[in-house]
């Protein structure tokens, strides 16, 4: 029987991640997907903010 192993969440890093491992009938790895379920969109919401404020905004991309 093919089987799926889900590691959710992945830990000890900044951010959110999930790994899906698909095993085939023989129990060997068929395919693996690494997914990032989190998005905040700094790329967009920094637009329009005063440039001198950015150090205090983008420092919240990662606080680890």
């Amino acid at each position: 029987m093919s089987r799926r192993i889900t590691i959710d969440p992945i830990t000890r890093l900044e951010g959110h991640g999930k790994i899906e491992i698909f095993l085939n009938d023989a129990g060997a790895v068929d395919d693996v997907y690494f997914q990032i379920p989190e998005l905040r969109g700094f790329e967009k919401f920094c637009e329009g903010r005063p440039v001198e404020e950015l150090p205090r905004i983008v420092s919240r991309i990662c606080g680890v």
Binding site: P9, E14, D31, Q35, P37, L39, G41, F45, G48, R49
Partner: protein, 319 residues
């Protein structure tokens, strides 16, 4: 005494709140002595499935940081609410949206387009955008739904206490943990780990008569390190922000951006600030008012830097 079950979670967050917890330094050992940690993704390996198996109410204290940006954030918030006796909105993002809620000034589709199609470092020739479901030859994959709005924790579940700050200071965190351990908690709904007085009350800078002829951006002026920054024309949100942080930004010669949130009884910190600066502008005519206001380059993003989700404004573009 039986050990407490403690959960720490991050939704849409940067991890700074979690690191602030670690910044209690060796006192973390005292926390470990009284508490079993049952979830803490930044530091330990518990999975959502482990928490899902726990009985309702079996977590004594959950410190939840981060905003509600997508359906996964909301699902985990609902699960942790069910499992926790005491759910704390921990930090600005959980309390009022924080920095991630600046996205409420933008349209959802514009955000996705910018991030996945337009940024110079992106290579995405097929123009693929995140999907909530995606079939593959080996099985289906699922991603959370990216919401139109960023919400505060208490906009999706009931919250017992609020610990403000971006992030809360380690000293204040330690006081909160001690209050929980000793059972010495204020009435539900209270803000803990902050003062009921304004930041100006805590601020050591010399305050004189506030009469403002023009506002400066921080690179346009060399400020006097002894004097109130607002009096010198920098937009300091001290008058409308709860004290408790130890005037961290002011100590670094930067004006407060309001991360400790509004004072008790105030819903909209930004609106309150607008009325306070209205009162200190040294203008006699509407034209003079206009001219002074020109000096404020990004009112929404400045006055609601940490509080867009719970502001009356909510977000500028939608609805």
């Amino acid at each position: 005494m039986a050990k407490l079950n403690l959960a720490l979670y991050w939704a849409a967050a940067c991890g700074g709140c979690d690191v602030a917890v670690l910044d209690v330094n060796e006192k973390i050992l005292d926390i470990a002595a009284v508490a079993n940690i049952v979830l803490w993704p930044v530091a330990l390996d518990h999975k959502y499935a482990d928490v899902a198996k726990m009985a309702p109410g079996s977590i004594d204290l959950c410190l939840f940081n981060g905003a509600i940006r997508n359906s996964e954030n909301e699902q985990i918030a609902r699960m942790l609410r069910e499992k926790s006796q005491v759910l704390v909105a921990f930090g600005s993002c959980a309390i009022s949206g924080g920095i991630p809620a600046l996205a409420n000034l933008k349209d959802r589709d514009d955000i996705l387009r910018r991030v996945y199609l337009e940024t110079p470092s992106t290579v995405n020739p097929d123009g693929v955008l995140p999907q909530t479901g995606c079939p593959t030859p080996v099985g289906d994959l699922h991603l959370p739904e990216f919401y139109d709005f960023v919400y505060s924790l208490d906009q999706v579940v009931e919250v017992d206490y609020y610990v403000p700050g971006c992030p809360p200071t380690p000293q204040r965190i330690w006081e909160v943990v001690q209050a929980v351990v000793s059972g010495n908690l204020p009435p539900r709904g209270a803000t803990v780990g902050a003062l009921d007085k304004s930041l100006c009350d805590e601020c050591q800078r010399v305050k004189r008569d506030k009469k403002i002829k023009r506002f400066y951006r921080s690179h346009e002026i060399i400020t006097d390190p002894e004097l109130c920054l607002l009096e010198q024309g920098l937009l300091c949100m001290g008058p409308v922000t709860r004290g408790g942080c130890g005037t961290q930004c002011i100590n670094a010669n930067m004006p407060c951006r309001g991360c400790y949130g509004p004072l008790p009884g105030v819903t909209d910190q930004g609106a309150k600030y607008l009325s306070s600066i209205g009162a200190i502008m040294d203008a006699r005519t509407p034209e003079e008012v206009d001219e002074i206001m020109q000096g404020i380059v990004d009112p929404a993003g400045t006055f609601y830097r940490f509080g867009m989700s719970t502001s009356l404004l909510k977000g500028a573009v939608k609805q």
